[in-house]
Symmetry: C2
Subunit: 273 residues, 2 copies
């Protein structure tokens, strides 16, 4: 019931085909008729913004989001300022590439002071908003799984992301919902409902068992234990009807030919998402 | 400030010296003048309950807890009943060995129905209480880190453990606070305070960076990013003055001579806990 009827919302988060360059990922998406792509900044950097833009336009592919801004907490004031500057560049790239969402992975603490780092994140978002707003870019706070708290993000739950976002207009700050990061949370459905009107992205993958690795252990939809459909329906109930990104860090998947990965991804998207 | 002044609350959770048998761990603790030990049931089983009891009594070591009961969710009604029976045996062992705490690691879901599994946990605890109470054993619900949600415990936050415990008298059900499992939680201090009068155990270790492995990645106190002292003070503020278990799953530590591990553990306990 409530199965998706087409792939018109499907987006390839290009980390899923990590061996592919930006050009290969965009052309691969076009071949597979996957209409959306989410770009990573290090892939854009390899060929430059102008060339990236040309490739995307020529292929007729739409950009669902840019990964990633954020990483606010730094040990010194000077470094924190540098990171804000880098976030402004990410905003410019997002605007240039025709998406209105910059995903924020907020960063780990530079020391043992978790709550201090969380305040630096809040301050960083506050500082970034005017620049982003002028360029039509919304900031999407993506909570990461708590197992990344020490190395990637002090924002570890959708509740926290909602707390950060709710201080602002939905035109300024929203949240990004990734099933891999929040599926375990007893509060998940409540927090998805609370994010109504503020969900800026929806990411799918699966949690595989046994979990081989903290970073590289994500699975293709249907290969793990996450009951995906009710989550997608809840996200839609909360007003999000935009692109659905498939974002998978997994060496076995990375080692497969990209075209095969896209074929499998399309199939699983209809079956499980 | 507020440093511990002695090791009179220090307990060796015997998984920390996993190569040692129960006898070796108890005698090692006695040599190191560590007054408490937490026993694992598979170690008790190797030599039997009677012999375990004799060894502990002869060494003059006190038992802080028995690991573990729990594991309630099972695919069939018959298997769920078997697990309750096994929990009753764990209660008997705890009573026989002179502790009043049985730690509950609540178990993963047998399928994709997380909330169903959480209900089975609640039902299992409800069913176990009368038997445990008659034998003077309190049930200590230990929330595990969310990264274990698929394989070890659908109870993943202290908030959840408190929800489960608060339905009962503190003589029946409480919570076990383990820093490794909850240090990332923005709600941690609030939930520790909420657990006032119900904390039945406190476990320490550290979160090391980079984290080498989901299961075997714990570190010795001081080797990681957890700010331990404020957590211990909060636990004491919430009324817990009992034994503090050092529980470390880490191959490098397991490979060291047990006496060296205990010496290091005592030193780090005073410095960091």
């Amino acid at each position: 019931m409530n199965q998706l009827q087409s792939i018109d919302r499907l987006s390839l988060n290009q980390i899923t085909t990590n061996r592919w360059s930006l050009k290969e990922a965009v052309e691969g998406s076009a071949r597979a008729e996957v209409p959306w792509i989410a770009l990573w900044r290090h892939k854009i950097e390899e060929i430059g913004l102008k060339e990236s833009k040309r490739i995307i336009r020529d292929a007729g592919i739409k950009v669902s989001s840019i990964c990633r801004g954020g990483m606010f907490p730094a040990p010194t004031e000077a470094e924190r300022k540098e990171r804000i500057d880098d976030n402004r560049r990410a905003v410019d790239e997002a605007a240039e590439l025709g998406t209105d969402v910059l995903v924020l992975v907020c960063g780990p603490a530079p020391n043992k002071d978790l709550s201090g780092a969380r305040q630096i994140v809040a301050d960083g978002i506050e500082e970034l908003i005017p620049y982003a707003k002028e360029r039509g870019i919304k900031l999407g706070v993506e909570p990461l799984h708590p197992m990344y708290a020490a190395e990637r993000s002090v924002i570890v739950s959708l509740a926290q992301a909602n707390d950060l976002a709710e201080k602002y207009s939905p035109d300024e700050v929203g949240v990004v919902v990734d099933v891999f990061h929040i599926w375990w949370d007893p509060d998940m459905f409540k927090q998805i409902a609370r994010a109504k009107g503020r969900i800026l992205g929806y990411h799918v993958s699966d949690w595989i068992v046994p979990t081989p690795d903290l970073l590289m252990g994500r699975g293709m939809m249907g290969d793990g234990v996450i009951d995906l459909r009710p989550i997608r329906l809840a996200v839609e109930e909360a007003g999000y009807k935009g692109p659905i990104e498939v974002e998978i860090f997994n060496q076995e998947i990375w080692d497969q030919p990209g075209d095969d990965v896209l074929a499998l991804m399309k199939d699983r998207y209809i079956k499980y998402v």
